[in-house]
Amino acid sequence: MRASIFAAALIAVVSQATPSLATDYGIGKPATPAEIAGWNIDIAPNGAGLPPGHGSVSDGARVYADKCAGCHGADGLGKPMPALAGGAGTMGSAKPDKTVGSFWPYATTLYDYIHRAMPFNAPQTLAPDEVYAVSAYVLYLNHLVPENAVLDATSLPAVAMPERGKFVSGYVPDRPGEH
């Protein structure tokens, strides 16, 4: 035991002198596919991570009325919580209205955020079909998909978000910690 700790420490010390970060403390265990699958809930802008399933605007209207409207208003106009719709074209004004339609650059963020954090009183309880449906309904409220839209892992990332081209990164990678 003592010898192995010493060996690990030695390896760690040696590795600090090389470009490699590799260490061999022997701490932790390999994550199982099931463990990863249960927690791997993020959705990338290209749609990576989106589960099988689909949801329509009309199904989304029913889920929204039941689980979202109490905080975000019947038509997504907010009160008491933030508005989800409206505000188109206000980015140039002194008080931009940062709704999904007027500000959000990626439709995939809708699925990601609704699933992980909403509804406020019961996060991570909506089924994939419900999340697709609510996403479709919120996009419909913002006139970004038609009333007959059905969204899935292919169609959701393809929804064109009007303000996307305005987003620029303030981070400069070759100067760590600076921008």
Binding site: Y25, M91, D112, F120, V168, G170, Y171
Partner: protein, 424 residues
């Protein structure tokens, strides 16, 4: 204490003090004596607490502040919380009542998006996966077996100090700057843990995810991950407070507070940022040219005078030390200048050691108040040469639509009656 740097302004600082001292008046001292006389248990009386035994040890086992300090607590904004719920809200550190550079754990500011979870450390896990050679999962015991380190760093919420528009005169420093705290954080450097997994060369970003009901997520650039990111499990010598992420948080020195994800449960490596809600619709801003700037990470050079500060009364004229804190997310503070005339003239304040990178630095300057109106302001410079801007200079770069990362000079107005108010 660390001596202030020898600069031309040091001479002016001495003149500042000397001039002030000649204005000493006997009246001020007499007024203080008169106040003491009004206290029943003051000399020559022997007070009751010397005539009986005090409380026994462990009263209580976890010590608490004196009952006379009960006003020193976190609170919400004095002019009303903008948040509709108490779970997704903030509380503010009482900077006006703190000394030195350390924030006591019970006074560290809060910003939660889904309340404070109650997490059993035995059940908590950290999963690290994605573009790594070995996807692994760690218990809290595992993480505490790694070689650890302790570092003192500030943490500042990106939305701290809303002085973009007309200042609210009644705001105290707790209102204006209270989303700022500074603790000693202990944990394992993230790069140490990553040595066990092997990060693939094409991994450029890391997603950090919390175990709260918001499952808070932010994308972190690999350069920061491999620089000074810390997996922290302790603050100021004890395990993290629940409000600060117990049992485990990410800590990114100098970066906006939101990125130091609390209740950390997962790290995933990828090639691009994830464009989470908190890095697209939040923590981004509209620039004057109409573009939207996101990934604004570093908290820039800033400072604030905490004494005297908004809401305080100077009382009788006499000696007052001007004191405050300065900080920069880029490194060490090298200079703090103080003005008592709203920025017309400046004197170098003394920087109290230790002066640490990405950490609060306490500054002090002697001052004598003799009943004149004054405008107190401080201006910091960091080791990269960045100088804290004036309100007007900041607004030439960005406007109120920025909301985040306001770091302009703070001015407190002192009336002839000694009342201190926020002048923005």
């Amino acid at each position: 204490m660390t001596a202030s740097r020898r600069t031309p302004s040091t001479a002016s600082r001495r003149a500042f003090v000397a001039g002030a001292l000649t204005l000493a008046t006997a009246a001020g001292l007499e007024a203080q004596a008169a106040i003491a006389d009004d206290i029943a248990d003051a000399p020559p009386v022997t007070p009751p607490w010397q005539k009986e035994q005090g409380a026994p040890v462990m009263s209580p086992p976890y010590g608490q502040p004196s009952k006379f300090e009960s006003a020193v607590v976190r609170r919400e904004n004095s002019t009303g919380s903008p948040y509709p719920t108490r779970e997704a809200a903030v509380s503010l550190t009482p900077l006006q009542a703190l000394h030195g550079i350390i924030t006591p754990n019970g006074l560290h500011y809060e910003r939660h998006h889904a309340g404070v979870p109650s997490i059993d450390p035995a059940a908590h896990r950290l999963l690290i996966h994605g573009l790594v050679d070995r996807q692994m999962i760690f218990t809290m015991d595992d993480l505490m077996h790694f070689p650890a380190t302790s570092r003192i760093h500030f943490l500042e919420c990106s939305g701290n100090t809303q002085n973009w528009g007309k200042p609210k005169p009644e705001h105290t420093v707790q209102d204006t700057h209270g989303l700022l705290s500074c603790c000693e954080w202990t944990g394992v450097p993230l790069k140490t843990v990553l040595g066990e997994l092997g990060v693939k060369p094409d991994a450029k970003w890391m997603l950090a995810e919390g175990a709260d009901a918001a499952a808070m997520t932010r994308s972190i650039p690999i350069e920061k991950v491999l620089d000074d990111a810390l997996l922290a499990y302790a603050q100021n010598g004890e395990r993290l407070r629940p409000e600060q992420g117990y049992p485990l948080r990410l800590f990114l020195p100098g970066f906006e507070g939101n990125m130091s994800v609390k209740w950390l449960r997962r790290l995933k490596f990828g090639t691009e940022p994830w464009q989470t809600r908190e890095e697209t619709s939040k923590y981004s801003w509209v620039m004057p040219d109409g573009s939207v700037r996101q990934f604004n990470f570093v908290m820039e050079a800033k400072s604030v005078i905490t004494s005297p500060s908004g809401g305080q009364k100077l009382g009788a004229s006499g000696f007052r030390e001007i004191s405050g804190v300065a900080w920069s997310g880029r490194g060490k503070i090298t200079r703090v200048e103080v003005s008592t005339d709203g920025g017309s003239t400046w004197a170098d304040a003394e920087l109290q050691g230790p002066v640490l990178p990405k950490c609060l630095t306490r500054f002090r300057l002697p001052w004598r108040w003799h009943g004149q109106s004054a405008k107190l302001a401080s201006r910091s410079t960091d080791e990269t040469g960045v100088v804290q801007p004036s309100h007007d200079a900041l607004l030439q770069q960005r406007d109120a639509r920025s909301y985040y990362h306001y770091n302009a000079i703070q001015t407190w107005a002192v009336s002839a009656e000694g009342a201190v108010s926020n002048a923005g």
